[in-house]
């Protein structure tokens, strides 16, 4: 249940999003992300859940013609990250992202994790060493990687690569981490590892995760939002959404009658 004492880390307010071809992919979405909680976005393909997630770190800015309308406010400083005066690069330094397919860079394991620090201009080798170790430990990859830090990242297995991408995102101490279907390219064991990792990361940061897998949402998240055709149909405590949904559409989707 949503308790009054849990602080809100970020919230979207009446968020609409238009792709460059004019498609309105999000329709007036308002929902909170509670601090140190995992919020899951579920819904059938094309419902806008990834589009919504990618608004948080302004990934849509990479492609010309996309348009946001509405607000995503980050607390405690009340910044609207979608405002014109806000630099998307600054936003991405506070909100990091893990992608559907592991996308390590063609560099060593060490350099992959150090990347965020290097683009921020960090030069001190000892600082970078410490941060890389801390991030790899945080992503439960340190034991496997510590003796091969200078190996090419592509030599890791798929699950290890995804944990490397999490370490990369962790190294810069973000406040929010976005996961865009982080396990859809992984086998069940690697998936379990990532889910466990997400549960641990919750102590450090706030997580928003898009998933196709309803069991996953039920397993890892504290809050769940069900989206359909660009609209937020229902948002609530994960237990409630999966046991006593108030909307018929949510129930149909969760019970597999639809989707």
């Amino acid at each position: 249940m949503v308790t009054a004492t849990t602080p809100i880390k970020a919230e979207s307010r009446d968020l609409n999003f238009y792709y460059s071809n004019g498609t309105r992919a999000l329709k007036g979405i308002s929902m909170p992300l509670y601090e140190n909680k995992i919020t899951a976005l579920i819904g059938p393909s094309g419902c806008g859940k990834s589009t919504f997630l990618r608004c948080f770190n302004r990934m849509h800015d990479l492609y010309p013609g996309n348009k946001y309308d509405g607000q995503i406010v980050m607390h405690p400083d009340n910044t609207n990250v979608l405002a014109h005066g806000v630099d998307p690069i600054e936003v991405r330094m506070r909100i990091s992202m893990v992608f559907q397919k592991p996308n390590p860079f063609p560099k060593s394991i060490y350099e992959n994790v150090a990347y965020g620090l290097r683009v921020r201009g960090e030069k001190n080798k000892r600082n970078i060493d410490d941060k890389v170790e801390e991030a790899l430990k945080g992503a439960a990859l340190w034991e496997e990687a510590k003796n091969r830090l200078h190996d090419l990242a592509f030599n890791l297995s798929g699950g290890q690569q995804q944990r490397l991408c999490i370490a990369r995102a962790l190294a810069t101490d973000p406040e929010i981490m976005l996961f865009d279907e982080p396990t859809s390219a992984l086998d069940p064991i690697a998936t379990a590892n990532i889910e466990e990792l997400m549960s641990e990361l919750r102590n450090k940061l706030t997580i928003l995760v898009v998933t196709h897998n309803m069991q996953q949402a039920a397993r890892v998240s504290d809050y769940t939002a069900y989206m359909y055709l660009g609209e937020l149909i229902e948002y609530g405590d994960t237990d409630m959404i999966f046991t006593r949904p108030t909307r018929k559409e949510t129930e149909d989707y969760i019970t597999g009658k639809f989707g």
Partner: protein, 313 residues
Amino acid sequence: MATQVLQNPLELPISARLAKNLKRNFVERVIEFMLMLAALSAVATTLAIVFVLIYESFAFFEHVSIVAFLTDTQWTPLFEDAHYGIMPLVAGTLTTSIIALLVAVPIGTIGAIYLSEFASHKTREIVKPILELLVGVPTVVFGYFALLFVTPMLQKIFPGLPSFNMLGPGIVMGIMIIPYISSVAEDAMRAVPMSMREGSYAMGATRFQTAIRVVTPAATSGIVAAYILGISRAVGETMVVAIAAGQQPNLTFDPMESAATITAYIVQVAMGDLPHGSIGYQSIFAAGLVLMIMTLVFNILGHLTRKKFREAY
């Protein structure tokens, strides 16, 4: 057979339906053979060229020792006092090629990065065809451009520069090679998956950081391929150097002097009326063999570098 075709195939017994279709097999075989012939024609031509080069060079090396060929500092096969040292021609070839690459590699690479990572769709649509037009300009035109435009301009900067020199044609050859390098390198960069760029942007990297730190290393193998193509073009280029570098074999690496390259020598001698089988005639093939070995060495080096940098993504 003909009646069988008209019959409903499902009415045939299973064994007849599964039997080998002889006609289809035969047609497949014929097509396969014709495709193989097409592929072989290129291989056969290459082998024939190699054979002729080696065969005629053998005749040449019956008169000239390989040691003299490699160590003599003069190349004067058509003079009374004939010397057969290939090094002056190799020096000319290397000097002009290095100048060309010093021009083409940086500009071509930067151009590729710009076109692939920075230019808008519209800009790319305009710039690319113009660059590719440069490929279509006959090399004779570039030769006279070097001789009559670039060299006089250079002479204003370096007053002592002779009319025939290696600097001018080297630079022009570099300009000529830019589109080859930028086009192949750009293709390699655009083949880098968008997900890798997004990963970099999501870390708060700028466009330039993404281009230099992620896209370029990911495309290294293709970029090296572009450089190899550029080197092969430079080493094999004939008309520009034959027209603007002078045709005096000269053992020097000084770009301010005139010199002849291997290709320039070949075209110079081949245009004259050398009797078939004379030593001068055979020297063309020996020079050609050296040229081929040089190109081969560069290709092998490039191949090894590519393998070393090959990134699977």
